[in-house]
């Protein structure tokens, strides 16, 4: 009986040790934002960030781009912005980074994504709110660095690591805090963030949403001449009255042009 108990204890301990080795809690990054990610066909990939920020924000945007480009799966590159700070309209296939006094909204920064075909990010914006950054409390390098770093990262699918403002800093810009420069400092990403990016982007997709989306479309798709009826493709249906019809021209890989026509009497 005693031998049986000892054997049971040994097996239990062995299973416990193996379980701890298989699921080390400290290394398991798990702060993806849902399943959102940019679709792409290979890694690493380069994402453009449109610069619509003023001079007070330039260095922080540059730092965020540099920090996140340390990732093994992702590179960011700054390009001329195609919108204004106050409007901050999105551009297909990339991130637009903006600053303006957006009002007393309660947020220091906000990241917005637009998705297509499920959880694939097609375009994204980052806004930092000068209504607050013009105030002494937030007008510090540490606050600016944290918020810019965090918003840009939301735009490629990272969530917060922690949302308690009052616990010790985790040493990442993906951690809510009341004291961004710590120590430890919450002004830059940490290894968990990079690990999470590897996890999010470990797979590849059959299509891409990065860059000018139409660039990767099949030949003839972007500049198809759809004026001539012979280019409309096959007819899907006629209306009961015969006054209208729907045609589809299928370019493959999900790229289709639908033509809905209403015939003149």
């Amino acid at each position: 009986m005693r031998n049986k108990t000892s054997s049971f204890r040994f097996v239990f301990l062995l299973v416990l040790i193996l379980a701890l080795a298989a699921f080390p809690n400290s290394a398991s990054a798990n702060h993806s934002w849902g399943k959102y990610h940019w679709a792409r066909t290979s890694n690493p990939f380069t994402l453009k960030v449109g610069d619509n920020v003023g001079s007070a924000w330039d260095s922080y945007l540059n730092e965020a781009i540099s920090d996140w480009s340390q990732s093994t799966v992702l590179d960011l590159t700054k390009v001329t912005g195609s919108t204004s700070g106050s409007t901050c309209a999105p551009t297909s296939g990339r991130i637009e980074a903006c600053n303006a006094a957006y009002g007393t909204t309660g947020w220091l920064g906000i990241a917005q994504i637009w998705t297509t075909r499920g959880a694939h990010i097609a375009q994204a914006t980052t806004k930092v709110n000068d209504t607050y950054f013009n105030q002494a409390q937030y007008n510090t390098p540490a606050w600016r660095r944290l918020v810019m770093c965090q918003e840009i990262a939301h735009d490629f699918g990272l969530d917060h690591q922690d949302e308690n403002f009052n616990n010790p800093n985790l040493g990442t810009c993906m951690d809510y805090t009341s004291d961004p420069d710590g120590p430890p400092s919450n002004e830059h990403p940490n290894q968990h963030d990079y690990d999470q990016l590897v996890s999010i982007y470990s797979h590849t997709d059959r299509f891409t949403t990065i860059g000018a989306a139409l660039k990767d479309a099949p030949p003839g798709f972007a500049n198809a001449d759809m004026h001539a009826q012979e280019n409309w493709g096959s007819k899907l249906r006629d209306s009961a009255s015969g006054r209208s019809a729907l045609y589809v021209r299928d370019f493959g890989n999900g790229y289709k042009i639908f033509t809905f026509v209403i015939w003149a009497e």
Binding site: T104, G106, I110, F165
Partner: protein, 147 residues
């Protein structure tokens, strides 16, 4: 039954009746405000002794209506009044349980977010003033999202 014991029982019975009578004749209890819209919210807050003033409006990209900033005992809350409860529910359903994201918007709040809903209202409070949270809990019910 002995007359003495009967007298005691009658006295106890009379006391119980008088005690019940006192409850029933006390003044009418304060009718709780049913919060349906911004006007009834302000009335409910004032009925609880709060000082209330409306300030500027605010626009949140993630809500389909503009918000009104209301200063309650000197602290700002954001009040969003929708056309009806269904429209409110539609936007409220987009708020993540922790209040960190709304639909496809991820927010870096200035302070801990607390989202409440009642009638056709969503109310957002950012902060940790326990007395204000207690007040909002009382007039709006428990938060539906936040920290």
């Amino acid at each position: 039954m002995k007359p003495g014991l009967l007298s005691i029982l009658l006295l106890v019975f009379a006391y119980i009746l008088s005690a019940c009578g006192q409850n029933s004749i006390s003044g009418p209890s304060k009718e709780p405000f049913v919060v349906e819209d911004q006007a009834s919210l302000l009335a409910a807050l004032q009925s609880e002794g709060a000082t209330v003033e409306t300030a500027e409006t605010t626009t949140q990209d993630f809500f389909s209506v503009k918000g009104q900033i209301v200063r309650v005992n000197g602290t700002d809350i954001q009040v969003f009044e929708f056309e009806n409860a269904e429209a409110m529910e539609n936007d409220a359903s987009q708020v993540a349980p922790d209040g960190g994201s709304i639909g496809t918007s991820m927010v870096t709040w200035m302070d801990a977010p607390h989202f409440y809903q009642a009638g056709k209202l969503i109310v957002l409070y950012l902060g940790n003033d326990q007395s204000l949270r207690d007040l909002l809990n009382k007039v709006l019910g428990p938060q539906f999202a936040g920290q």
